[in-house]
């Protein structure tokens, strides 16, 4: 069982003051009014109980044994690798049933989008580097940022971008901007050294 937590100071709000149907409750610690939008039965559940111990369940005659614990009866199949597994090796991930090995593998490798915890936005980074010299104060940094932007954009052309699907226009635009800057830089350098334009 838990208490609702104040959004301002993280202290517990008294249960007797918390409106079950939603409404305002003033935090006794910081005196700020919190609005409760919805409460769910999980609030009343006790989470600190130990999981039940599973009884021995050896496979019977003609029954499949667990791939990882051969002394246990297989009850389900891993949705990822397809091996037969017993209850002790089963993990539920949303609507999927996975074996613990696959769960660890997917979480460590981050191959499945459903398991990824973060992604670097290389397209935004390349575009930011390409746009940085346009700020008046630090325009000379284009000597470094333009090649870096081109390198990042081409190196990460096929890398996964945001989880929200989007095209490659940022990468393309970054390359275009950086190439323009490099061209201007070269023209300026040639003009300073050889004065071809007078």
């Amino acid at each position: 069982m838990a208490h609702v937590i104040c959004v301002y100071c993280d202290s517990n709000l008294p249960a007797e003051l918390t409106p079950a149907g939603g409404g305002e409750v003033t935090c006794p610690a910081c005196r700020h009014p919190n609005q409760v939008l919805a409460l769910f039965p999980a609030l009343l559940k006790t989470w600190s109980v130990n999981p039940p111990l599973l009884a021995d369940d050896p496979p019977g005659e003609g029954e499949a044994a667990c791939f990882y614990s051969p002394n246990r009866r297989a009850t389900t199949m891993c949705d990822h690798c397809g091996v037969l597994i017993s209850d002790v090796w089963t993990a539920a991930w949303g609507s999927k049933t996975l074996c613990l090995k696959c769960l660890e593998h997917l979480r460590e490798e981050g191959r499945d989008p459903g398991f990824q915890s973060s992604r670097i936005q290389w397209d935004n980074l390349a575009l930011f580097l390409a746009c940085l010299p346009f700020t008046i104060i630090i325009w000379p940094v284009m000597v470094v940022t333009a090649p870096a932007s081109i390198f990042l954009a081409l190196w990460h052309w096929n890398s996964p971008r945001s989880m929200i699907p989007r095209g490659r226009w940022r990468l393309g635009f970054a390359v275009l901007l950086a190439l323009t800057q490099l061209a201007l830089l070269i023209i300026g350098l040639v003009q300073v050294l050889f004065h071809p334009f007078g």
Binding site: V7, L37, Q121
Partner: protein, 367 residues
Amino acid sequence: MKKTFGEYRYIAGSARVRGSVWEGADHLLYIETKGYPAACLESYRRIDYARVQAITYGRTSTWAWNLAWQILVTLACGFMVAQFWLKKEQWPAFFTGELGGSAVLLLPVVLLALIINGFRGPTCVCHIQTAVQSLRLKPVCRVRDAKKLASRIAAACQQHQGGGTVTQEQLLSIPAFDPGPFALQMKRPFIRTPALIWGFVLLLAGGCLAIAEPYVDSLPFFIADVIINLSGGTLLVVTRMRNARVMMAGILGSTLKAVTRNFVFGLLLSAGLYIYASITISQEMVSRGRAVQIDDEVTLSLLRWLSHASFDEIHVWAAVVMVVGGINVFLALLGLPFAFRPTPVAVPPPVPTNPPAANELQPPSLP
């Protein structure tokens, strides 16, 4: 921005700095973005509907503050635009000239910002609570979005938690919390330091100097203005940063936030003025037939130009300097009474008495 992808449906937020919240089949996806001005890293948090305990929000004063300054800027722009069209002779030239022209361009922008902010409604901080965390959903920053979030996922949460709702009787069955851990769990209150008082005093002095700056033609005055404003702003910004994890709500918290914004704006303004002065002096040197190079004479003439700058020379810049100074004075007067208010004395939590039983090891008696 897409409204659906895969199994997810959009609820709130954007692909930019704040991140976004998406409704999944059996969980809520919170995409948290880091990096400014563009998001450079996306972190994904998935909250199972079966684990959600509560959705709460608390109103913030950001909406009111934003409305206040947007209305002020809109009125000021409207006034200057009126002056620009009427061309009243009794007003200084910069009101009817460049400043009025700038206001004509600025007015539609601030008016649009005011309308958008007004329609989006009050701001809030929204939290979603599970057994292990109370997670702040940064993209849900408006009351309207928070209510929309609750209405969208409430049915799914109840379905995944076996149906049923929480009644007041069930809430009353939750045992009262122990005051000891409760006291420890609280964020400690902000302790007022002399740095806060000195910061506001310097800010007040600096603001007054900045207001007087366009009318005073003196190099020491200009240097004193820069040093005092920098010291006051830095003291207050550092105080705010050092106390980022303590409870600093209310007018003091809002004032320090506004001081930080004004300080950053003041720094940008100084950089802009410096560039403007450099360009002006370079043009003067070129017109006199001198090569542009940085030496002591140029540095001194740059400082002199900045200290001599008046309304007739820098026009709009002078007005902006005066506005920044005025905001500093206003914020200092707002924050000073709170800086002097004594900090409440912290009461330590009661220590439970737990004497050892007869068969337990007794502590050795000290001589």
